[in-house]
Symmetry: C2
Subunit: 214 residues, 2 copies
């Protein structure tokens, strides 16, 4: 594919312009995210990704050797980079307020951000993907654990809890809520279910003033 003709000449132009190349890469990933979110890893078609991103198959393969590289790039971009990573800690919020904001923002991204939806589906289909994807959940659990430590110091929650264990349970509960909401309502009831979840979680955390966060 990279041996001759139209695609090669395009590639020369791309290599000359880093900004243009980055922009093309992003366009390919955006098209790939839609494919992966809709059809999953096995169903996603490189030809359709090339078509949807208005590039050629050669250019797609210049950026991503294999479909698995594309999957990895999407999972990394969704979970480690903006906007998702930013959701984990809103700068202006601390302690319990930041925990609640983070859970709401992540739920919003699961519903509305096609990059995150693609990444979530790819993580579910990890058995099919011949590269090692990042371990899910651990980053978010650690982040929430840190925020719960802040909350405890600030006297916002029951003293003497194990913040890391509570963080594990918050992320587990969140994960189940989004999964069942996805399977039973295509995530239509997710915002409502998240609020119900937060109300219950604030009780188990012994939040001093739960209504402040709801």
């Amino acid at each position: 594919m990279n041996r001759a003709g139209r695609d090669d000449s395009r590639e020369v132009l791309v290599i000359r312009s880093d900004a243009r190349s980055m922009e093309t890469r992003e366009r390919i990933l955006a098209a790939a995210a839609i494919e992966f979110a809709d059809r999953g890893y096995a169903g996603a078609s490189i030809a359709l990704i090339a078509e949807k991103s208005a590039t050629g198959k050669g250019l797609v393969q210049y950026h991503f050797k294999a479909k698995s590289d594309m999957a990895l790039a999407i999972v990394r971009s969704a979970f480690s980079e903006a906007p998702f990573a930013n959701l984990l800690g809103v700068d202006s919020a601390h302690g319990l307020e930041a925990v609640v904001a983070s859970i709401r923002s992540v739920a919003g991204a699961f519903r509305d951000d096609v990059m995150v939806r693609a990444a979530v589906r790819l993580m579910r289909e990890y058995h099919l993907i011949p590269v090692t994807l990042p371990t899910p959940y651990v980053g978010w659990i650690a982040r929430i654990g840190g925020l719960l430590r802040e909350a405890e110091v600030a006297g916002e929650i029951h003293p003497g809890l194990d913040p890391d264990r509570e963080a594990w349970h918050l992320v587990a509960y969140f994960s189940g809520v989004q999964e069942i909401s996805n399977r039973l309502s295509a995530r239509e009831d997710l915002p409502e279910r998240i609020e119900e979840m937060l109300a219950r979680a604030l009780v188990t955390l012994g939040a001093v003033a739960p209504d402040r966060y709801l």
Copy 2:
């Protein structure tokens, strides 16, 4: 495959004996469950299932036209029939005690029963399977909703809760706990995480005597 030779003569024997046929079918399903649990839907091999169940490919295909029929039979058998269905309501238990027993039993089956583990993995991979699998979760949510109604009447939990909504949340929380325990510890910490979950859930349900159940 069914045209001549050894497999055909075996099949004649099987048709003559319903009990023998049922036994063969169960043996095939047991072998298929191991394959599906270990390799998933896409990776499971009919040839290996025939080998592991000590049958021939012809006999496997006599019982199951396609791999998807086998998947459907496993999901139905795991979720609608014994032993899983029995776990949903232990006869001797009622109300909150039955809710707790049901959650513990289902967690045990997720960890130890290969039929249930295969079914759980197949449900996750439903996108890949060209038959309609039963809708997950709804049966269990309804069952727990009924038990919570009993618990409310018996004064075991906070009055005025919506039993169906609480049941939805218990099943969602359970689902996330087993998912994260699976991903981060291959379900090794599942029993401990389930006990932690039950302790938290009993608080949000306003259980009158939570220690009775833990």
